[in-house]
Symmetry: C2
Subunit: 600 residues, 2 copies
Amino acid sequence: MTVSANPLLSDRDVDFQLYEVLDAPALCALPAFSEHSRETFELVLGNVRRFSREVLFPTYRMMDAEPPVFRDGRVHAHPLMRKLYPQLVELGLLTASRPPEVGGQQLPLTLYSMASAYLMAANLSAYAYVGLTIGAAHLLEAFGTPWLREQFMTRMYRGEWTGTMALTEPQAGSSLGDVKARAFPAEDGSYRISGSKIFISGGDQDFTENVVHLTLARIEGAPPGTRGISLFAVPSRRPEGDRLVDNDVRVAGVIHKIGWRGMPSLALNYGEEGDCRGWLVGEANRGLACMFQMMNEARIMVGLNGVATASVAYHEALAYARSRPQGRSAGAKDALQPQTPIIEHADVRRMLLRQKAIVEGGLSLLAATSVQADLAAHSPDEETRKRAGLLLDLLTPVAKTFPAEKGFEANVLALQVHGGYGYSSEYLPEAWLRDQKLNSIHEGTTGIQGLDLLGRKVVAAGGAALQAFSEEVLATVARARQAGVHGPWCAAMEASLEAVLELTMSLGAMGMAGEVEQMLRHSADYMELFSILAVAWRWLAQAAAAREGLAKGGESQEFYEGKLRAAQYWFATEVPRVKPLVKLCSSGEDSYTGMRPEWF
Amino acid sequence: MTVSANPLLSDRDVDFQLYEVLDAPALCALPAFSEHSRETFELVLGNVRRFSREVLFPTYRMMDAEPPVFRDGRVHAHPLMRKLYPQLVELGLLTASRPPEVGGQQLPLTLYSMASAYLMAANLSAYAYVGLTIGAAHLLEAFGTPWLREQFMTRMYRGEWTGTMALTEPQAGSSLGDVKARAFPAEDGSYRISGSKIFISGGDQDFTENVVHLTLARIEGAPPGTRGISLFAVPSRRPEGDRLVDNDVRVAGVIHKIGWRGMPSLALNYGEEGDCRGWLVGEANRGLACMFQMMNEARIMVGLNGVATASVAYHEALAYARSRPQGRSAGAKDALQPQTPIIEHADVRRMLLRQKAIVEGGLSLLAATSVQADLAAHSPDEETRKRAGLLLDLLTPVAKTFPAEKGFEANVLALQVHGGYGYSSEYLPEAWLRDQKLNSIHEGTTGIQGLDLLGRKVVAAGGAALQAFSEEVLATVARARQAGVHGPWCAAMEASLEAVLELTMSLGAMGMAGEVEQMLRHSADYMELFSILAVAWRWLAQAAAAREGLAKGGESQEFYEGKLRAAQYWFATEVPRVKPLVKLCSSGEDSYTGMRPEWF
C-alpha cells in the first residue's frame, strides 16, 4: 500500500520561493546571466521536474536495494546507471552553472539549486555522481593547467569521465592537516602518488571509462600540518598518447553505508606498485586553500540534499495521512461510522506541519543563500560582491546544518506518521531516514559547522557580516509590516535578532580577549539558536509574500493560508526558544567543558 | 576497529539507582518480597550481567544480520535461538517476578526491570521472545480458566512454549475498537476463530514446539466498537489428548522490519480452513479491559528497552571517543604532536554528556516507576497501594515515551560521535538506531501517550495523582537541600513543578467545561514538558545521592562528580525549556489544530 505518486517537492512552493518570496529572475539583470529570463527558469525546471518524477524517482528503490558490487578489483554500479548517467548529462546538469567558455549555460546557482533539489529528492545517489563530477571538474577549471583542463576537465564536463574528492584518510577524518598521502616530483612534471584514502564516494564505477580523483597529498619535504598539503588530479586510468593505461589506483574495499546506497564509498590505495601518477592542481602546499574555495558551494549542496530528502519523505507522509483511515475524531466514538483519514487527528497534523515548517523553511534559506552566492560571484559592483560574499560565508554553515539536523527530525516524523508500516522496509520513509543521516557528517560535521559559524563567520570582517545579515532581516521585517503580517511576529523577529546580536558581540569580545575556549563553549547551542533565527527570517519573508499574494486574490488562497499557518507554527514553537538559548550561551555554563573524561 | 568490550549498562550506575538514589532493598520489608534481601538482588544482577555480556551480546550482530526466514509456511528463527532460549529460561527470567504458586521467585519488579535492561541492551530480539511469553502467560495467570492455566500457562512459564500478543489488524492499528477478527461459540466450549492479524512479533518460530497467541476478536453478535472485543488464547497447535495438532493459524507473510531483526514480525491468518480453535480468556466482551490491566507493565518494558538501547550505544560511543585520535585541542595546532582522543573535544563531550543525561535520567525514572508498581501490587496498606497505583498510572506514559523519543536522540548522537564510521554497518550504532525507532510506535505511539497523559493520567482521581507526584518531587527537593545540592537547582525544580501544576489545573478545567479539543491541543508539547520535569526530578534525586556519597568519602568520587555534571547539564539546558513550553501549552496557539488538510 505504498503511496507512489510523490511530487518530490511542491512545484507551487518552489515557484513561490523563486518568484514571490525572492525575485530570482531579477538576477538576469546581471551581465553574467543576461541571456536568461524567467522563461529559461521555467524551461529548466519543467525538464528537471519531468525527468525527476518520471525517470529518476522510479529507480530509487532499486538502487537502494542493490548497492554497487566489488568484484575482481572493480566496482560495478547498479546497471541502471549506464542509462541514467547519459540522461543526466543530456539534461545539461554538468555544466548548467558553468560559463560558456567551458561549454556551460551559466545559469544562476539560485535556479540550479532549486532544480537539483528535485534530482536529489528523486534519487540522491544517481545525482551524486553528477554533483561530485561537477565539484572535481570545477576545481580543475579554477586551478588546473591548460593541459589538465583539456585532458581531464573537458571530458568530465562532457560526461565521459566522472570525478571524486579524495580527502579523507583513516587516521585523518575531520583533521585534514593530518593527511599522510605522499607525492614525489617526477621528471615529466607529474608526481608519483602513494597512500590510502577512505570514504571516497564514487571512487570507482563501470559506466564511464575513467574516474579522476582530486586528491590531497604531501609533496616530499613539505611542512607538517595544513600548510604542507597539495591538491592533485589523479585519474584511475591515465592518458598515454591515444590510450588510457592503468594508473595504479586500487579499490581496497567497499564501505557498507547505511544510506546513499546507490553510490559506492570506497577505500582506495594509490601507488601500490609504484606507478601512480598525479598532476598538481594549483600551487604546491596550497591544496587546502583550493578546496576551501569550493567549500561554500559543496555545503550548500549538502543543505539542499537535506531539504530534498526531508521533502520527499514529507510528501510521502502527507499522501499517506490523507489516504490512511484510522480511528475517529475526538468526540466521535461511534464504531459504526467509518474511520477517518489520520490527517484529521490533531497530532498527525502537528507532525506534518512541523515537517512542512522544516522543509519549506529550509528550502527558503537555501534559495536566499544561493542568491548571495550568485551576487558574490557575478555582481558587477565590488561592494555588492563583497557584502554578498560575507553573507554567503555567514549563511553557509547554517544552510548546511539546519537541513541536516532538523531535516533528519522531519524524516523521523515522516516515518512516525506511517506508524508500524513506517518501521518496515516495504515503505520508503526508513530509506530516506538512512540517507539523511549522512548530511550531519560529511562536508564538515555539525560540530565543525558550529565552530565555523561562531568562531569565524559571525565575527568576520569586524562584524560586517553580521551587520549585513541584520540589514537583510530588518528589510524583511519592514516588508512584512507593509504586507500586514501579524505584528507580534515582526516584533519577535526584531527582539530575537537584537538578542542574538548582543550575544554575539559579547562572545566576540571574549574571543578578542583571548578567551577562545570560553567563547566557543556553546558553539553547538549557538548554531541551534542561529538556525532558529535564520529560519524565522525565512518564514517571515514567506508570510509577507503570502499576505501580498492573498491581497492580490486569485487561485492560491489555500496555499497562502498554509504558509501563514506554518509561519505561525515557527513563531509559536521555535522562536520562543531564542531567549533561553541566548541565556544558555551567555551563562558561562560549563557542564560539558568541565566534564572530565574519567568522570563519564 | 569496532570497540567490542561493551558493558551494556554501567554496573556502578545500576547499583547507584537501586541502593543510593532509591532504597530498593527496603521493598523486601513487604510480605510478598520477604524471602529476598540485597543479597538476592546482587545474585540476580550478577548472573544477568555475566550472561548478558558473555553469552547474549556476542550473538546480537549475527541475529541482526540474519533475520528469521519464512520457508514452507513456517518461520525459522536464527539457529542460535535453539541454544539461547533454554539458557534464558534457565536464568529464571520467565517467572522471576511471578509468585511461587506458578513456580516463580516473586522478585520485585524494580529488580527485574534493572536486570532485564541488561538483557535488552545485549540482544533485544532474543530477550523479546521471553518478554512476550511472560506477557501472554501473565494474562492467562490473571484471567484464564484452570484448564487454560494448566494446559497453556504452565508450559509457557516452563519455557516449553512461547507466547504472543495478537492485537493489531491491517485496518485497525492504534484503533483497537475496529478489530474485525471473529469468534463463533462451538459446542465444546471453545470458539472457532477467523480473521487476520498483522505485526505479530514472535508469531512463529522453530525453537519450541508451540506458540500461544493472546488474540483479540469479536464474538458473533457482540456490540460494535471497544465494548464488543474479547480475548482468546489461540495456540498454533492445539492439544488433543496427548498430541498437538495443527490449529489452522497460518503465517501469511513476514514484515521486513528495519530493527529488532532477530525476531519476526508476521501477518497471521486464522481459520483459513475453518478449523482454528480459541479459548476465551476472562469475560466475553471484556478483552480490552484485560489487556489494559497488563498495559503499565508492557509500557514500562518498552521504556526499559529505550533506555537499554540508548545505553549500549552510549557506552560504545564513550569507548570510541576515548580511543579514537583525531585533531588537537583548541589552541594546540602543532601538527608534529600526536592527535588527541576525540573525547578531549568539547563538542564530543557535549554529545556524550547529553547521552549520559538521557540514559541515566531515563533509567532512574524507570526504577522509580517500578518501585510504584511494586508498592501498588504488594503493599499491605490499601492507601499506599492506591496512591502508588495513581503514581504508576501517571508515570507510565512518561517512562515509556521519554526513553523512546530522547533515547532515539541519544542513539543519533552515538552514531554521530563515530563520524563517518558511524554511517557504516561495520559499526554497531546504526543497528541500535534502527532498533530504537520501534519504541515510539509500538505499545501506543508517542501521540497516544501524550493524549493518555494529559487527557487521563494527570487529571485522574480529582487531581490526586498529580498531588502524589508533587509530594514525591517536593520530598526529593527537601532531600537535595539537606544534602547540600546546588540551591538554584532546587529552586528551579520547585518553580517548574508549580508552573506545570498550574498549567494542568487550567487545562483540566477546560476539559471539565467540555472543551476537550482545546484541552488536548498541545498534548505532545505537554508530554515533552512533563518529561523534562520528571527527568529533572530524577536528576535532582541523583544529585542528592551523589552529594551524600561525596560527603561519605570513599572510592566513587569521580562517579559522583560525573553525576553532578550530568544533573547540571539537565538543569542548565532542559529545565529552562519548561517556561516557554508552559506558555505554549496555555496560549491557545492553534497552528496545527487550525491547519486544514487542504492547506498542506
